[in-house]
């Protein structure tokens, strides 16, 4: 207890609400917390899907944003997480929330096994292999091997998320908070990784693989680590998504989905966590906002993508270096280099 007190005695609320940056973050947190209570269920669900894309975007950001690896098959890891949850829940009755870490692990293991032999491939070739892997996963799911995956119709009849006890997540508002708590935890963890030697190693690999190796970084290990971690997070997203829908089918995990995730990271800003959130907002909210356009909605969407790259190729909120990093908000005792 004393140690805890000593550890936290430096942290004053004032430190949190001190700078204007922190005020903005707290404002955002407040908005996110209040939002589901003031809008209709339909819009709570929109917020939920925004959260799913945010989590997926963050997971791909590790591979694409931090390390710079062209991963166009990320939906495959998402699918594994979703289907592991669906199958183990419907066939064995294991509670959904217990399956959350299991799905993450399954996706991570899958990433480890399939990426190990190909991790050394040069960027463009890695790209097509990831596309291939994503397609292999999807096609395998459609073909219903061992009668496990339900074919093109998928698996349905999932339970609400529980741990097996009385605690149940069964309303849109509760799902909303479930996903956004996972997103918040991921943001904290990923920001800390960004500021650690692991994050630096990743960025070095992205900048110049050979120089990274020549400075003591085990390039292969860190590339694999990025894939495994990214897959784990995508698996978590899959678990929560599956339980919200209460079913899974291969259509949600197409190559197109992988492309959308890719766009989230690029449009938001590679390696930038706030950027990824903005990118996810764009991808998930745009179709909603532009519903009145009906048939022309996607057309406009495509045009906006092109225009975005023309005018903000670095992303809407590119990663800052040398200035204040986003993470300084989370550690009030650290000095920000202002």
């Amino acid at each position: 207890m004393k140690r805890l007190q000593k550890k936290y005695s430096n942290w004053k609320i004032a430190d949190y609400i001190g700078t204007s940056r922190r005020r903005i973050v707290f404002l955002l947190l407040a908005v996110f917390a209040v939002y589901p209570f003031i809008v209709s269920n339909y819009f709570v669900d929109v917020g939920f899907y925004f959260g799913v894309y945010a989590l997926l975007g963050l997971s791909l950001n590790i591979v694409l944003g931090e390390v710079g690896l062209f991963d166009l098959g990320h939906a495959g890891f998402y699918a594994i997480g979703a289907y592991v949850t669906a199958i183990l829940n419907t066939k064995l009755g294991i509670p959904i929330l217990v399956l959350l870490p299991v799905s993450a692990l399954a996706a991570a293991l899958f990433a480890y096994i399939v990426c190990s032999p190909i991790i050394h491939l040069r960027g463009d070739y890695l790209c097509i292999v990831t596309i291939g892997l994503g397609e292999i996963v999807r096609l395998a799911l459609i073909n219903n091997p061992f009668d496990l995956t339900g074919g093109p119709n998928g698996v349905f009849g999932l339970d609400y998320p529980t741990f097996g006890g009385p605690f149940v997540i069964d309303s849109p508002v509760e799902f909303y908070f479930l996903i956004w708590i996972m997103v918040a935890l991921s943001i904290v963890g990923l920001t800390r990784l960004q500021e650690s030697r692991i994050g630096r190693a990743w960025n070095c690999i992205r900048e110049d693989e050979i120089a990274a190796g020549a400075n003591g970084i085990n390039v292969r290990f860190y590339k694999l680590l990025a894939f495994v971690l990214g897959a784990a997070l995508a698996g978590v997203a899959g678990n929560i998504y599956a339980s919200k829908l209460m079913c899974v089918s291969p259509e949600s995990f197409t190559f197109w989905e992988s492309c959308l995730l890719f766009c989230i990271v690029l449009i938001g800003g590679m390696g930038s966590i706030p950027g990824v959130l903005i990118g996810a907002a764009f991808i998930s909210l745009f179709p909603e906002i532009f519903r009145p356009f009906a048939m022309y909605r996607m057309l406009v969407f495509g045009m906006v993508m092109i225009l975005m790259m023309m005018y903000r190729p670095g992303g809407v909120w590119p990663r800052k270096r040398g200035g204040i990093e986003f993470g300084s908000i989370l550690s009030p005792t650290r000095k920000a280099h202002e």
Binding site: R192, I198, R200, G213
Partner: protein, 266 residues
Amino acid sequence: MDHRDSQRVVMETRELTKMFGGLTAVDTFDLQVRQGEISSLIGPNGAGKTTVFNIVTGIYKPERGQVIFHGTDITGKRPDQIVEEGIARTFQNIRLFPNMTCLENIMAGQHCRASSGLWSSIFRTRRHREEEAKIRATAELRVRQVGLWESRDDLAKNIAYGSQRMLEIGRALGTEPSLLVLDEPSSGLNAGETEHLMHFLKTLIREEDLTILLIEHDMNVVMGISDRVTVMDQGGKIAEGRPEEIYDNDRVIEAYLGKNDDDGDA
């Protein structure tokens, strides 16, 4: 210093041979680098000098031969393993991390001297925080040492060329090496910057427990700071000795075909 010949050999290559397809880039090459000395590897373009460096630092595997460092056979190890053993290098065409700051570039060098993993990083354990502080402190020391304190938060791609060369050396020093391997460090530097570099390297040897091996084309640098010079041509060694001995060596002159010390910059 007469007891130079009996000084400890920190790194040697034995019968190093490397072939690319039909071309023999390095041919049965023997080299010895001694503790506390600045050794230079010179020779005309295409002689195989950078290839030797690439083999020593683990980027290529030789067809034959060994690299022995502090008595250990490091042939064929991965580049990052070799850095851990204590050999750090710079590149002929500077390879910095362009979109990271100068300080971050040097902090990258400290990567292999720390060990906090996923768990410690995510949960910011005490061990992690202490390591980070040490990494930052060491990097700040080195960035000051190479004279880039004012530009420490500038992106590496934005600083002057001469500064970039020094930064790369700073980053190599960040890995806490015992052998520093520099590939044409004075390339592209003007006379003043070259002087500064020479002075810097001489100071480095004096003040730290370091050995330096360079590839150089600038004869002023070679003559000015080397304790020992090895000359390569067409993959093999054609001469070796003290700078003065090499300077008048007929074979060396012939290999360069008339290059004299007026050809300052490479």
